[in-house]
Amino acid sequence: MTDDDLIWRVSGGSGDGIDSTSQNFAKALMRSGLNIFTHRHYPSRIRGGHTYVEIRASNDDVRSRGDGYNFLLALGDSFARNPKENAYYGNEELKPLSENLDDLNEGGVIVYDTGLLDEDDVAELDLEERAEENDWHLYPMDLREIAKEHGREVMRNTAGVAATAALLDMDLQHIKEIMTEAMSGDILDANVTILEDTYEDVKENTEMTHDLRAPTGEYESEQALLSGSNAIAYGAIDAGCRFIAGYPMTPWTDVFTIMSQNLPEMGGISEQVEDEIAAAALAVGASHNGAKAMSGSSGGGFALMSEPLGLAEQTETPLVLVEAMRAGPSTGMPTKPEQADLEHVLYTSQGDSQRVVFAPGNIREAYEQTRKAFEIAWDYQIPAILVYDQKLGGENTNVDVEFFNREPAPDLGSTLTEEELLEAAHDDSGKFKRFQHDPEENFEGVPEGVSPRSLPGQQAGRFLASGNEHNPMGHISEDPDNRVAQMDRRKRKKEAIRAELDEDSQQTYFGPEEAEYGILTWGSSQGAVKEAVDRLNENGHSVKALSVSDMMPYPVAEVTEWLESVDEAMVVEMNATAQFRGLTQKELGRFGDKLTSLLKYNGNPFEPAEVVEGFEANVNGGDTSDLQAQVRIEPAAGD
């Protein structure tokens, strides 16, 4: 992080419009030419409960939250429960201020709404004293009163944004533009008045004691601000997916919602159904009948998809599922990120796993790998799963608009036309040999192990798809020779997929190639690791990182080569049992003595400084007694 970064945190209660206020402000910062990264923290509650959004704006290409933050706009929780003495939830109204003090950096700025935050309560926080200790700059303002004067109380968010802009010396132009795009009529007028009046008032009447100012920047090309969930949905749309079925569950609901809002205009179909068993089964049914289809859920809902997932594996029905991880087990912490469903996604459903699993590490990868998942699923007739988490799904970053300017890929892969079906092999009674033992011998250009398919309604294509083991026409068969031939063919597909993926790696590398130490990570922890690697090298360490996306089939050759090139490697992941390290050791069959783990599972994603700190503790012999962060170090085997 450069010292010039602005990390602005807006806090309030659930239902206070914190998310939309932050979205608009993030967009305004982006339009002013800055790179953006957002982080969202919220409770599993509709009204009330402490929530915040952090926006990091920088001239650098920031792809992670920063360390702490430097500007707090504390709006107060308007839906807070009345605190009863000894209530375990404490004084909720005050939390937007009180809960955010520990993370505020030295020299930080605090604007808080005295209209909503009770003066006596604030006094109990010893705010002035702490401000002095930490060189914080306090700007109490009655935002509620300003909002009331010109419009309605709820517009206090606008007053807060105006105060922020004034204190950071920002121009109002982009903020006003965005308001004009989002609102109209009296509401717009009132908000603009509040914005301008508050801005002028703060500029003229507030004595500013802080040094922090908004950075300024310039882009070379047009940018779009979007989330990981957007990127997944857009990847699906560009892959020709026009059918989605789902059941709401946080945080997967975002992808489901974006798809449902876009598909009807594109002649696509979205189905909200009775449960996740049905959701995945519908996707299987739609795919079997010719649509590019997807479904998805989060941990608990994905558990219900085990059955249809296995059916897709056994019937070789193309399918894409997404799994948005949140902290488990069971209901766990529904709105908090964790990377603890890896083993669940890899192995759920009976029998040998026959699937592809990708874990994108950032928003661009989320888009790319969603497209790739569809391509592989339809070429190889295999379910492909994207496993991501609440962090990646909910974070926003700016992406070059031209990144999305590419050809759509609606191809159905290894699906035959009626003309091709007439030429293909049938049994004596006219049944199409849908599941041939050696399709490579009969079809040109199909990937290894793939027996091309037909679709119901096509002439000369009828066959039976069955979850039972089956013969080439699809009929149930328990013949040992057939069983081995079919299992071996399906296994060949996976080997062919690995070979294809190796041609154009989806893994991401950071740091100097000749580095001594390695950090291995996966999925959304990539951003924090990337920034940590930069800092560690600046601090004189010799470190590089590998962020792995291919979870199954595992990129054995690539990771082996990389691990051989380092003396030791620390595996960074958000779970308590080092699942990815376990997978790596299982797949590679060695390196157990080379791999240590840095784990975090408190419901908050890694900050770069925590990775730096963890790494330094590790190279210093793993002494964790001085660790500030709520992380855990797991030594290497034999240590």
Binding site: A293, F404, K431
Partner: protein, 311 residues
Amino acid sequence: MSAFNAVDDEREIDRDEFTPGLEPQPTWCPGCGDFGVLKALKQALPEVGKTPEEVLTVTGIGCSGKLNSYLDTYGFHTIHGRSLPVARAAKLANPGVEVIAAGGDGDGYGIGGNHTMHTARENHDMTYIVFNNEIFGLTKGQTSPTSPKGHKSKTQPHGNTKTPIRPLSLALTSGATYVARTAAVNPNQAKEIIKEAIEHDGFAHIDFLTQCPTWNKDARQYVPYIDVQESDDYDFDTSSRREAQEMMTKTEEALYEGEVLTGRYYVDDESVSYQQQKQDIGEMPTEPLAERYFDDDYEWERSYDLLDRHK
């Protein structure tokens, strides 16, 4: 030009076309009621002008699940209880295909009960045949959701204390727009009911009594049966939910007293299928989605054109 030329194929169809060369002889026990469903389907399909390749038969697990091994159409032998969600998506993706779902009473009224309820309420344009033999057959004779109270089995050695599911009432309450009961021992009625169900615009639920001669020996063979439309003893209006409900209650109770009532119970001629309703509100394309993937001229929408909202 269609990529699915089996759909609406107008040629003459012989019922033998529905007998697969691969497994012409089902493996069901001699005397099994499932033969009756197979036979009725083989007769009904040609009579409503359906060819093997424009029909998709989606089944669950159990003896009934093997229906599409012995009926030569496109088949999808799914998993226990999940035939309906697979089937209804088939109809959404490629509406020209004639979709028939089938399963047993355990499949449809037990493990898949939730799907039965929701598929019925959505009123998908499809036929659902429940092979109701009041027993789990393939797993060797356990008590099922339609087994009578007091029924003894290896898993309920002291007798079943549960009230059996009321299949017809369940379908009606859930929203099915065609509800009938027929029996394997009544092949002509079965054929006619299947034809009506296929031609009905909406979810047609057939509770099909299929005797299990192996595991439900003490149960009725569903003879003699009474066709409620033919009998002078019953007079009710199948378009009235209230009268249908009353007749269903009577029928469900009579079965456990040894009287087998069959026929049409509820027929909503005004039914508008789910697909039609979705199309009417712009949530489903009027051209089959599956066709689009074969249309080389189609201009596929791109996310690049959605980015304005993010700028």
